[in-house]
């Protein structure tokens, strides 16, 4: 059977249960696609051919009546998730030969659920970037048009799902690193509420903002994965119990839901993006939702607050890389890491803490209060993900501030700790995908899935056919 790698997780699970094909078939199809496309696209840092052996075991388990929610489904992991015995680099030369001794909690949960790991994906080193170009092992390319960036920092993970190399892939979102590449690749990307998914064993970037999520082809698949990754982990004190079944509201109609629109901010976005966002608002109205204009008065300060808080925490987290216990010496840090370490070291240095970090943390409170007020009036908010369509490789590399401003619609959710779901909204010229995001109150993932699922049903999914 051909094209098995193009199925969704739901379809693949149904087929496995019926015996239409095996996990070996699915895994072989994914590995073949990686072999075919990876030399040009560079989505994977490590490819696990041993995945076939794991698939064989999964098939045997299934034959023996074992039931697991992801039994035999091939997935990819961003190379910032620690994997026991499998090289984990954060795509930095500092960790180029690093082999972890244990699995991240999320990885452990996915393995326990029966998922097959086909490889580790490329990214901006240490998750610092919006384009995927900051990898010490070469940039990832956008599979829809290889002259363009795939978005970052979880570039390879988004690309692996978009180009059918894996059925799902993990990512991290500290300022937009899941939602941005999801929107540039025509896939669904979830940034969960801060603390819904454990950060344990995920190489830390900015600990008060890091959110652990994933990429899938559909909203339903996203809910299936969240059912496995969400919940309390005794190794991460910010996590919370989550007894919910995130698929429970899929298919419920969205009539009467109130959805906030950020119309006045749309003028800051590219014309195409503005138009697609308004198109989606119209679709939501047709589905019976009410669109209400809202205001987030402090959001214009979000990037400035974010680029104080995040580098400050980066400088602290990257201080542990001393080349003594593991990894290479600090001279191996790339340019962007050095930039952020220095910026953070400066704002945390004696005499500047109150003026920068503390000030930014107070702005964070104001941004969260803006959202609290908005969610008194509306159930969810719709917004663009990126202010511009994907840009060409090399276009922004010499202007860090310009690159940082790509996060203007995404960082607010990280500062407020709220969930965001990026879903495909259409294509523009040069065959480039664009997504929009749905934002909700803390722990409202089920509602975002409900709205996203209803929206998804209004358009046919465009599959990647190479």
């Amino acid at each position: 059977m051909s094209d098995l790698n193009k199925l969704t997780i739901k379809q693949a699970l149904d087929g496995l249960k019926k015996g239409d094909f095996t996990s070996i078939d699915l895994t072989t199809a994914c590995l073949a696609q990686i072999e075919r496309l990876n030399p040009e696209i560079n989505a994977f840092i490590t490819v696990r051919h041993e995945a076939i052996e794991d698939a064989k075991k999964a098939d045997e388990s299934r034959k023996n009546g074992v039931e697991k929610p992801l039994l035999g489904i091939p997935i990819a992991l961003k190379d910032i998730f620690m994997t026991e015995g499998i090289k984990t680099t954060a795509t930095s030369n500092i960790l180029k030969d690093y082999i972890p001794q244990y699995d991240a909690s999320v990885v452990k949960n996915l393995k326990t659920a029966g998922a097959i790991i086909v490889g580790k994906t490329n990214m901006d080193a240490w998750a610092h970037g919006s384009s995927g170009e900051n990898s010490d092992f070469g940039p990832t390319r956008n599979p829809w048009n290889t002259k363009y960036v795939p978005g970052g920092s979880s570039s390879g993970s988004a690309v692996s799902v978009a180009s059918n190399m894996a059925f799902a892939a993990t990512g991290t979102d500290t300022g937009g690193s899941i939602r941005l590449p999801a929107s540039f690749n025509n896939v669904v990307g979830l940034k969960p509420t801060y603390g819904l998914v454990s950060r344990y064993g995920v190489i830390a970037m900015a600990s008060s903002l890091d959110s652990i999520g994933h990429f899938t082809k559909t909203v339903e698949d996203s809910a299936i994965i969240l059912n496995i990754t969400a919940g309390r982990d005794e190794f991460d004190a910010t996590t919370k119990n989550s007894p919910e079944d995130y698929t429970k509201d899929l298919g419920k109609d969205i009539k009467g839901l109130k959805i906030g629109s950020l119309k006045k901010y749309l003028n800051g976005a590219d014309e195409n993006i503005k138009k697609l966002t308004l198109d989606v608002e119209e679709k939501l109205q047709k589905l019976g939702a009410e669109i209400i204009d809202i205001d987030l008065p402090h959001s214009e300060y979000a990037i400035a607050a974010y680029y104080i808080i995040q580098p400050a925490e980066v400088s602290s987290n990257l201080a542990r890389y001393d080349g003594i216990r593991f990894g290479e010496e600090r001279s191996h840090f790339g340019e962007e890491a050095k930039r952020r370490i220095m910026l953070g070291t400066f704002t945390l240095s004696s005499g500047y803490y109150d003026a920068y970090y503390k000030k930014a943390m107070k702005i964070k409170t104001l941004i969260k209060q803006d959202f609290d007020k908005a969610f008194e009036k509306v159930d969810a908010i719709i917004s663009p993900v990126s202010p511009t369509p994907p840009w060409k490789l090399g276009e922004k590399v010499n202007d860090p501030l310009k690159m940082y401003l790509s996060d203007i619609f995404t960082v607010t959710a990280n500062l407020a700790g709220i969930p965001g779901l990026s879903i495909p909204a259409g294509f523009i010229k040069d065959n480039l995908p664009i997504g929009i995001q749905l934002l909700g109150a803390h722990f409202s993932e089920s509602l975002l899935f409900q709205i996203g699922y209803a929206l998804e049903k209004t358009q046919e999914r465009r599959n990647f056919n190479i």
């Binding site: 082999i99 910010t238 400088s315 000030k359 702005i363 409170t365």
Partner: protein
């Protein structure tokens, strides 16, 4: 705002070439100028937020559990001595 790249690099234990020094100085001063935007807001009486979802006093049972073996803990380093990490001296031999 002046950004003293050399001084900050020393604090952060980073080695910076002279080419990088110039480039970083311009870029980092640009970013600091941009973040000055925050001074438009009076936060004198504002509260900083530390735990965004409001969790408090999260604890777990203080019980022993299997952890890394000594061998595993040392598996990432090139320099060991009698089963320990080997580091450079931090005190002068005076």
């Amino acid at each position: 705002m002046k950004f003293d790249v050399k001084h900050i690099a020393k604090l952060a234990n980073l080695t910076i070439s002279s080419d990088e020094e110039k480039k970083f100085e311009t870029q980092l001063e640009g970013i600091l100028t941009y973040v000055e935007k925050l001074n438009e807001i009076d936060t004198e009486n504002g509260q900083a937020i530390n735990q965004i979802t409001g969790l408090e006093n999260v604890t777990r049972d203080d019980t022993t559990a299997p952890s890394l073996t000594q061998e595993a803990a040392l598996s990432g380093t090139k320099n060991t001595h009698n089963g320990f990490f080997k580091v450079k001296g931090i005190l002068d031999n005076e």
